[in-house]
Symmetry: C2
């Protein structure tokens, strides 16, 4: 099956939407109508829906709250949200997206993390060399996973690589990433820890002390989230505010006709010129971290673990006279 | 004076050109006709011509070899040249460009470096937060300089910041960069050292052991290169293959009429759609460096200084079984 997108509204505004269509140009849901596994014989390869191309920072995601689940831009303080660039990174450092037909149920506690799901499809970081456009549906090979704890919720990040990438055949498990892409896994952990800090939020934490789990573990996470989605789409659990309309899921009480699905697109304004962005979206923010090796004698008030702060990216410790663009991004040591 | 650009040909092809015009839409040379100093009373602020916007990697530069000196893309192996992305960086990490009315004379040896000039206008790295489009002419405040030695030639890189940047008033000399943008200066040195390595070239070296010189020193470099340009444009020295046609330089034997300058644009094909780029230009390349601290017992055959390899970006040393996308990028330790 090949998929296409239909864009509506004006990119980088609140009315922008990316709908998905099948090969007959009928509207489908990228959340519910794209199979998780392209082949039933190999559960280590999954379809992935690309929401945020590498090196971009507009926070676009599949809307679980809108019928047919188009991609839309997240909103913050009544404006389209852009994730801040934290030096030395530019935007997202992978193609970022979601696995279709997966769900992290907010009522279920993950035993290994002790936290509940975040009520979204499972997130994926695709680490291949190509930049994939928003709305692409690509096949990826699963390599491992990180367990981000986002404001008390489990938010798994699956690490995977495009099956067409030249490195795909050499990357078979989590430890292979550092062999072929030295520093990349460390940068990934660092990125997730700090990316909300320029907005004044605390450092994100991880379960397992930030250690990435291997492929076997990741496959179980995917399988579990597939199961939770099946319970959702089959109405074994309440959908709450999640929109479950779909056109292809056999037995789902939310299944609708193509005509009804297609009508959703027409409710949105036609595609227009993208909004011209101000220079602020390109700003680089900086972090100052405590000294790398053991010169701290008291615990940090912000709860940082000293061990986790020994970042390769920000080798410098705070000095008298330091000032920053954002006061609330000033890290006390 | 405000300047505009006129694009010709198809971007990312060999026939692409960016010509410059003055406020009367007459063609000028960005090399010779834009004054170096916007105000004669303050030599620490210069005009800068932006050739490569931050986070891009098409190697565009003012052509010294073509009449009216349009920007064109550098050519490598008969193809337009793209600089490789070396992890964790995306493209150039500053707005990169040149100071007009400056020249590094290849016949003159710089006493402090012992090397001759590279026969180009002086290069500038603008470190402000805005991404400036190719062909912009902006005013920048000079902060310091690095003395890159490129294949035996002196190739000064002036560090400067857009005068309209909110940080400009806080950055007054080289040491202020690390206060407000921790890690950035170190990343800059690292970037220049390694950026040609994915193409199989050795690490670049710097005079002064990679230490950045301060503002006072940088101002002298600019002044010296201004003088060398004056000798060039006044024909006190031979121009060799450098095209010195200009429309504004009083007393220059190369001064021509607007009509002749304007005709240069017409010799190039009209602006067309940009070439669609393959995914290769987005590839990320990785370096593996020797251990940071003194475990090397013999000199490196490639001539690397151990001290200079203690990069914060690539904290990992070589391990058995390491392989890379480019064999010639494999650094032996």
């Amino acid at each position: 099956m090949s998929y296409s997108i239909v864009e509506r509204g004006s990119r980088f505004t609140m009315d922008y939407r990316v709908f998905f269509t099948d090969s007959q140009q009928n509207v489908i849901s990228p959340f519910h109508d794209i199979p998780l596994y392209p082949s039933s014989s190999d559960q280590s390869v999954c379809n992935m829906v690309v929401e945020i191309p590498r090196w971009s920072n507009a926070k676009m995601e599949i809307s679980t709250q809108e019928k047919m689940n188009p991609i839309k831009q997240d909103v913050k303080k009544e404006k389209p949200r852009f994730v801040k660039n934290v030096f030395p990174h530019h935007g997202y450092i992978w193609n970022y997206g979601a696995f279709p037909q997966t769900y992290e149920d907010p009522k279920i506690t993950t035993p290994d993390t002790g936290c509940k799901g975040d009520s979204d499809p499972l997130d994926v970081c695709e680490i291949g060399y190509k930049v994939h456009p928003r709305g692409s549906v690509i096949q990826v090979k699963i390599l491992g996973t990180l367990a981000l704890i986002d404001e008390g919720e489990t938010d798994w990040k699956i690490l995977a690589i495009d099956v067409t990438d030249p490195l795909a055949e050499k990357l078979n498990d989590i430890e292979d990433i550092d062999k072929h892409m030295p520093g990349f896994l460390k940068a990934t952990v660092e990125w997730f820890k700090i990316y909300k800090m320029p907005d004044g939020k605390p450092e994100n934490t991880f379960a397992f002390d930030g250690e990435a789990k291997n492929k076997e573990y990741a496959l179980k996470v995917v399988e579990e989230c597939s199961k939770q989605w099946k319970d959702l789409i089959g109405k074994n659990v309440e959908c709450d505010s999640i929109k479950c309309e779909n056109t292809t899921v056999a037995g789902s009480p939310y299944k609708i006709e193509n005509q009804e699905a297609n009508a959703c697109v027409e409710n949105h304004p036609a595609l227009q010129e993208a909004e011209v962005l101000g220079p602020e979206v390109d700003k680089w923010y900086y972090a100052i971290l405590p000294p790398v090796e053991g010169s701290l004698t008291t615990p940090l008030s912000t709860g940082f673990k000293v061990k986790s702060r020994s970042s390769p990216w920000f080798p410098r410790s705070k000095q008298d006279g330091d000032e920053f663009w954002q006061k609330d991004f000033f890290i006390m040591v």
